[in-house]
Symmetry: C2
Subunit: 309 residues, 2 copies
């Protein structure tokens, strides 16, 4: 799956991923109204609204991008009905040929991580039958529990040829509270990065490992260091746009081959119509605003990479 | 809710919680067969089997215990249908007067943690209506992202009078890989424990804080230290029984008042009928075996606390 991701990045010339994190407040009124007319102002109505919102954005952008990253929390908040909208979104994106990174940030002790891994990346056995639960291509994983919390995910990835992005240095302001603590003179995130490189060496694609890392766009210096610590790891970079990162800050997340990183933007793309720059599209044409924002983001990052030479 | 938990612990004289973590392999054949007869060997059939399995255990034990802790991964592995079984389990346990600790180990950047907090502990707005998603009483939270990943959970807890258990030192063998790393001479888990105490000071019940911690039974020495670091925090202690912890190892997790900790057992209770000690019940009477295992666990822990004097 890492090979497929790379292939798609090369084909689209877009090392980016669109974060499908639909807050109900991003969904234009006409989409909400239609969903509520069918299902009422209910959890099902909300789930229908975010699914229809996603679908139109995917339809308008899938030819420009290699991957999407739905953030499961935005669906989980609407309970079981929200999880159905998540599943529909994952399935639809796959049907459009997109690589799906489930931003689930799961992680637990061994047997429990095994259940999460089965549910998101693998299969479950029910009597004589096997089924998939949510069936994303990649999942994000929290490393706080150490190797035996991560290994069951890697085991499933090996079997299914799927991949992980493990949280190393997150994009939020207080990520340093624990991640930057110095252990023998080095920050904790560097240790976690070394572990990612080690775990990743067990499960490699043609040029990169199936086991990647999450490093926030808001910490370019740390990105530069971690790029060297984990040379074979693809880095998923959140925090572009709305969180403050810009293309020129991100060049050091990439290797010399122009690969090795994939930059996420969520709000900046899916709620683009709310920004002044794309206001001309209006809420009616929100998905076209998303397409324009994707084009601008790709140009910004490609430009920065070309300027690097 | 922490006051309700304490009240129930005092009433039942049982500082324990039953982990409802139903692997399909724990579910006796007659329960599986009945579910599959109705829904086939499908995800819905599996979800029905684990729900019926849970229900009978709850019916046989709810009068002896203050709380249950369903592990969401065991449901999530069965996809949307599994999440329905999770929701049914949460609702049913609440209808029996039990405190429900959702073992979800969520944690993300601020806006995303806010969505998880809304979905598990709070409410979501849909048009002019408000709804609850999963509506547990407590949730477990992963602290790797720092304060701004935890704060949105605390905000919702304040509003809803609900609580958290934050991962400090987990019960698994490799928990030390990152959690034990020394920062200025002290292990990382101690720093996290200090933060828990600090976060908890913002949101207190009558005698204890609403913000508790997870510290594994398998690390009694660390439990002793962390008890002092977080005097007002209730400690959720996994790892009893199947993972190796015993009553006498656990006395230092409790304060002098006999409170301050709640010990979880999952497999040891819900799959008790598979152990030699309870084999006489047989798979047909698995829930009675669970009841006997609860009684033995309570006696073990109460005995150890009394022996401490």
């Amino acid at each position: 799956m890492i090979d497929k991701l790379i292939e798609k990045i090369q084909k689209t010339k877009a090392p980016i991923v669109v974060g499908l994190d639909p807050m109900l407040s991003y969904v234009p009124e006409h989409v909400q109204k239609k969903a509520f007319a069918e299902y009422g102002e209910t959890l099902r109505g909300a789930a229908e609204a975010i699914w229809q919102f996603n679908k139109e954005i995917v339809d308008q952008t899938f030819d420009l991008i290699p991957a999407v990253k739905p953030q499961i929390a935005m669906y989980e908040q609407f309970g079981v009905e929200g999880m159905e909208a998540y599943k529909k979104t994952v399935d639809y994106c796959k049907s459009k040929g997109l690589v799906v990174i489930g931003d689930v940030k799961r992680g637990d002790i061994g047997s429990t991580s095994a259940a999460y891994a089965a549910g998101h990346l693998g299969k479950v056995q029910v009597g004589s039958q096997t089924y998939t639960g949510f069936d994303e291509d990649f999942a994000t994983v929290n490393p706080y529990l150490g190797s035996d919390g991560v290994k069951p995910f890697i085991d499933v990835c090996k079997e299914e040829k799927k991949g992980l992005f493990i949280l190393v240095k997150t994009s939020n302001p207080s990520s340093g509270e624990f991640q930057d603590q110095r252990v023998n003179g080095r920050p904790l995130y560097e240790l976690v990065g070394e572990k990612v490189a080690q775990w990743g060496s067990e499960h490699c694609g043609k040029t990169y490992s199936y086991i990647g890392a999450v490093v926030g766009a808001t910490y370019p210096e740390q990105g530069k260091l971690l790029r060297k610590v984990m040379p074979k790891a693809f880095i998923l970079v959140p925090g572009y746009g709305a969180q403050g990162g810009k293309g020129k800050d991100l060049v050091h997340f990439f290797n010399e081959d122009g690969l090795g990183a994939i930059v996420n933007s969520s709000r900046g793309i899916i709620a683009a119509y709310k920004q002044e720059a794309y206001a001309k599209y209006g809420p009616e044409h929100y998905a076209e605003a998303s397409r324009a924002a994707v084009e601008d983001m790709v140009a910004d990052i490609r430009g920065a990479l070309e300027a690097r030479g």
